[in-house]
Amino acid sequence: MWKWINSFAKPEKAYWLASAMQPYFFAIALLGLTVGITWGLVFAPADYQQGDSYRIIYIHVPSAILSQTAYIAMATAALVGIVWQWRTAFMFISAIAPVGAVICFISLFTGAAWGKPMWGTWWIWDARLTSQLILLFLYLGVMSLYLAFEDKQQGGKAAAIMALVGVINIPIIKYSVEWWNTLHQGATISKFDQPSMPAEMLWPLLISILGFVGFIGIITLIRFKNEMIIRDKHRPWVMQMFAENSELQRLSASKKEVN
């Protein structure tokens, strides 16, 4: 078992796994986003006090939750990279960091756009909003640390340490609305016993979250594969893969000529 997991430290094996997972994430993204967002924005009932404005929840909540999930994934890769010295783990960090940063920005932006009409303000320095902003800065910090080194391996290590240290922010974001007085309201759906939403509002939200999972997954996988090819472009497995590809192309081209 350990040996099998450890085999993904090799880029060729990880590349194969990423390619195998790609179609599933693509299907989930396409289905989840189309169904979840259409259902949420068009067919779900309006809220009793916020009216139609609450519908931004179908983008705000998935992006906010998954910006944290993506960070946990990045920090896990960082741990694996530092302790087990997997090369692929560092490549994964550089693949997911910009995706997480964009998702985090979307959550902050939609939150501000929602806050203005409902609360009456774009921004307030309460614990939830501030800690989510710190998450964005952590993502940007990891990205820039990775790029700041000439040597990719050193950059990867520095970025991994930063990603690991920043993981402390995740429970702070999650519990900020319980530990302190905030303008931001408490959690709606993570109260598993009874979510504070009727089913006809909750289902599209859950489907939309699933769609965001697929969307983030597919972009991360593509970036991950790219990163592996770029970093390993002089290694045999990449050269072999491209040699095979060009061989195939030549074959199909010559077939066309024959036809």
């Binding site: 309006a46 809220d47 009793y48 530092i82 302790v83 009456g120 303008l183 959690a187 709606t188």
Partner: protein
Amino acid sequence: MNPRRKQRLISVGSIAMLITAAVATMLYALQDSIDVFYTPTEILQGKQKTGQKPIVGQRLRIGGMVVEGSVSRDPESLAVSFDLVDTGPIVTVQYNGILPDLFREGQGIMATGILQTENLIVAHEVLAKHDEEYMPAELAEQLKGIKHVKPTDAGY
């Protein structure tokens, strides 16, 4: 696990624990400042843990529920006054401006202003704090007996 990996795991783990402890103590020390508002009880009786009370003339934020039947609007101007409550004590807020759409009696409200007397705040900003519950209008009326009317339509 080979010894080198074990050593790295131990050092990563201990650094993580140190940082967690550092952040936890920092947040603990700052807890009063991280609260974005005082509740009416805290204004009159002081913060629960430190007993620290705001002084008259201090600029602060207050958060609480609007007391039913306490909203009074000056018919000639935008001036409005209402009472906020959390678990007992009541603080009155006076405000001159447009109320947010979510404002209604029983709604959570946050106001920024200056403490004039022990329990009177003159606010220059009123924000609405809604809860985490969402439901269609019919359900809200059925379950909670709430019918939300925009402040402009409610006449205050």
